[in-house]
C-alpha cells in the first residue's frame, strides 16, 4: 500500500523501502520489483459535470486487503469499477498486475468481482451460474469446481435451485462462489456482506481470510467499518471522490478509528462533498 501519495518521490528513489518510517508504510518500488497487484495513479472519473473519483492514487500490494470506507456517493464503487476495468478513467491510469484490465484478457482471468448486484441469471440454477463462470475462465472440471465453490460458501445443498427462488442472502453467497470459482489473485468486493446472515457473513470472512493467506489481494468496499477492519490490512476513507485518510489496520484502535470516521463522514455531510476539517493520519 502506498501511503505517501507521492509518485514523483517513488519514481526518483530506487530503494525498496524507506529507512526510518517517518510516514507509516511509505513503500518505494524499484524498477525490478514485481508490479503491485493494483495501482491507481491520478485517476479521475466524471459523469457529466460530476466528478465521482477525483485524482486518486492507490497502490495495493500482493497479499494486502484494503478496505475502502466512505459515506454514500463518496466514489467507492466508481473506484472499484475503474479498477475492474468496467469503466475508463477520464484522467490517470489504473493497472492490475502492471496491465490495463481492459486490454489484457490473461490478467482479467486473475481477477474476481463481487458486486452488490448479484450478477447472476435468475432462471439458471446456482450450480449452472457458477459453472458458467468457471467455463468462461477456463477452469478445469468446471462442474466440480462450481460445486466446490458453493460448498465453501455453505450453499451446496441448494446447488440445484434456480437462483430466483433463493433469498437475497443466499443469492449473495452464490454470487461470491461465482466470483471466486477460478481462485483469483485479485478480488474486488463491493458491499459483499449485504444481505448475508451470520452464517453467510462468517463463510465470507473465512473465504476472504483464506484468499489472503493464499496471497490474494483484496479491495473491499463497505459501509461497515467493523466488518472491514476485521479482514483488512489497510483502511482508506474516501469522501467526495478523494482519498481523505489512509491507515495501517495493525496500528489502529478500532474504536477510536470508528469515532474518527464518523466525525469525518458527518463533517462531509454538513459541508457538502468535502470534509470541513479533515482528520489527520493517526497512526
Amino acid at each position: 500500500m502506498d501511503w505517501s501519495g507521492n509518485r514523483g518521490a517513488r519514481q526518483r528513489n530506487s530503494m525498496k523501502r524507506t529507512g526510518p518510517r517517518t510516514e507509516p508504510n511509505a513503500y518505494l518500488w524499484t524498477m525490478s520489483s514485481p508490479p503491485p497487484a493494483v495501482e491507481v495513479s491520478g485517476a479521475s472519473r466524471s459523469f457529466g459535470r460530476r466528478r465521482a473519483v477525483d485524482s486518486v492514487d492507490l497502490t495495493v500490494r500482493s497479499g494486502d486487503c484494503v478496505a475502502l470506507f466512505g459515506p454514500n456517493g463518496a466514489g467507492k464503487t466508481t473506484l472499484l469499477r475503474l479498477i475492474a476495468g468496467l469503466i475508463k478513467p477520464t484522467k490517470g491510469t489504473v493497472r492490475v498486475g502492471g496491465h490495463s484490465l481492459r486490454d489484457d484478457a490473461a490478467m482479467r482471468a486473475r481477477v474476481g468481482l463481487i458486486s452488490h448486484q448479484s450478477m447472476l441469471y435468475g432462471a439458471l440454477t446456482a450450480r449452472e451460474n457458477v459453472e458458467f463462470a468457471a467455463k468462461l475462465y477456463g477452469v478445469p472440471r468446471p462442474r466440480e469446481a462450481a460445486l466446490r465453490a458453493l460448498e465453501r460458501m455453505q450453499i451446496a445443498e441448494r446447488a440445484g435451485a434456480p437462483v430466483k427462488s433463493l433469498s437475497r442472502g443466499l443469492q449473495q453467497r452464490v454470487s461470491i462462489a461465482r466470483a471466486v470459482v477460478h481462485e483469483p489473485s485479485v478480488v474486488l468486493l463491493d458491499e459483499p456482506y449485504t444481505g448475508l446472515d451470520t452464517i453467510g457473513g462468517g463463510a465470507l470472512t473465512d473465504m476472504l481470510m483464506l484468499l489472503r493467506s493464499e496471497g490474494a489481494s483484496l479491495v473491499l468496499v463497505t459501509h461497515n467499518v467493523d466488518e472491514g477492519l476485521a479482514v483488512a490490512s489497510h483502511a482508506v476513507v474516501m469522501i467526495g471522490g478523494r482519498i481523505e485518510r489512509r491507515d495501517d489496520v495493525a496500528d489502529l484502535d478500532p474504536r477510536a478509528y470508528l469515532a474518527d470516521y464518523r466525525a469525518l463522514a458527518s463533517n462531509a455531510d454538513r459541508s457538502g462533498r468535502r470534509p470541513a476539517n479533515p482528520v489527520s493520519v493517526s497512526a
Binding site: 475492474a84 476495468g85 468496467l86 469503466i87 475508463k88 484490465l101 484478457a105 490473461a106 482479467r108 482471468a109 481477477v111 468481482l113 458486486s115 448486484q117 448479484s118 450478477m119 447472476l120 441469471y121 435468475g122 432462471a123 439458471l124 449452472e128 458458467f132 463462470a133 467455463k135 468462461l136 475462465y137 477456463g138 477452469v139 478445469p140 469446481a145 434456480p162 461465482r178 477460478h182 481462485e183 489473485s185 493464499e214
Partner: protein
C-alpha cells in the same frame, strides 16, 4: 491456483449463446410473446384484407416480412435485457473472454431464437395464405434465413446500445428499423418472385444483396460492439 484455459472467441461465443438459450428455454417469455404475436398478426392480416381484391397468395410475402421484423424486435429486446437485470453483463466483461465473443454469442442466440419462431410461422403462413409447399416454400425459408442473419447482426448491436437507456423499448425499433429496410426490401421482393414461380436466376441479385449485407454488417457490428459497452 488452477491452470486456467479461457475459451477462444468462438468457444466463448458458444458458451454465451448456450446460456442465453437455456434461459429462454426455462422462461419462454420472449419466445411465447414473439410466437403469439406472429400467429396473431398472420390471422389479423388475413381477415383485415379483402380477399376478392388481393389474393392471399399475393399478400403472403408482405405479411411474412412484417411479422418477421416485429417478432425479431421482441426477441432482440430480451437479448441484453437478461444481462441488465442483475448486471450479469459486468460478470461477462470482467471475465477473460473478449467483448467480440459476447457479441457473437448473443447474435448466435438471437439467430436460433428467430429461426425457432420462423419454424412455426412459415407453416402457419402456408396454411392461412394458401402458399404452395415444397420447393417454393423451402426457397423462401432460405431467403428468410439470410434475412434473419442480417437482422440479428444489426439488431444485436442496437439491443446492446439501447438496453441502458430509459426508453429501450422505443429506442431499439427506432434505431434498428431503418437498417432493416435493405434486408426487408430484398427479402420481400425475392420471396414474392419465388412464390410467383419465377426462375431462381431472377432473384439471384437480391440474394447477393442479402449476402453482402450479412457479411458487411456482421463484420462491422462485431468491430463496433466493444465500444457500445463503455459507460
Amino acid at each position: 491456483m488452477n491452470e486456467l484455459r479461457p475459451p477462444g472467441t468462438l468457444g466463448a461465443a458458444l458458451l454465451v449463446a448456450r446460456k442465453d438459450l437455456a434461459i429462454e428455454f426455462r422462461t419462454r417469455t420472449a419466445f411465447l410473446s414473439a410466437l403469439v404475436f406472429a400467429v396473431l398478426a398472420l390471422c389479423i392480416f388475413y381477415f383485415a384484407w379483402d380477399g376478392s381484391i388481393v389474393s392471399p397468395t399475393e399478400l403472403a410475402p408482405g405479411v411474412l416480412w412484417v411479422v418477421l421484423a416485429f417478432s425479431a424486435l421482441l426477441g432482440l429486446q430480451r437479448s441484453f435485457g437478461i444481462e441488465e437485470h442483475d448486471r450479469g453483463i459486468d460478470a461477462l466483461l470482467v471475465s477473460p473472454v473478449s467483448r467480440e465473443s459476447i457479441y457473437v454469442g448473443k447474435a448466435i442466440g438471437n439467430f436460433v431464437f428467430l429461426c425457432a419462431i420462423q419454424v412455426v410461422t412459415m407453416p402457419a403462413l402456408a396454411l392461412f395464405y394458401n402458399v404452395r409447399g415444397g420447393r417454393p416454400l423451402l426457397l423462401v425459408a432460405g431467403i428468410v434465413l439470410l434475412a434473419v442473419l442480417g437482422i440479428v447482426a444489426v439488431g444485436t448491436l442496437f439491443s446492446a446500445m439501447a438496453v441502458n437507456t430509459r426508453m429501450a423499448e422505443l429506442l431499439l425499433p427506432m434505431l434498428s428499423l431503418p437498417f432493416f429496410v435493405p434486408v426487408l426490401m430484398s427479402g420481400a421482393q425475392a420471396a414474392t418472385r419465388v412464390l410467383q414461380g419465377r426462375p431462381v436466376a431472377e432473384v439471384a441479385p437480391l440474394l447477393k444483396l442479402l449476402v453482402a449485407f450479412d457479411i458487411v454488417f456482421l463484420f462491422a457490428c462485431t468491430v463496433a460492439f466493444p465500444y457500445t459497452l463503455d459507460e
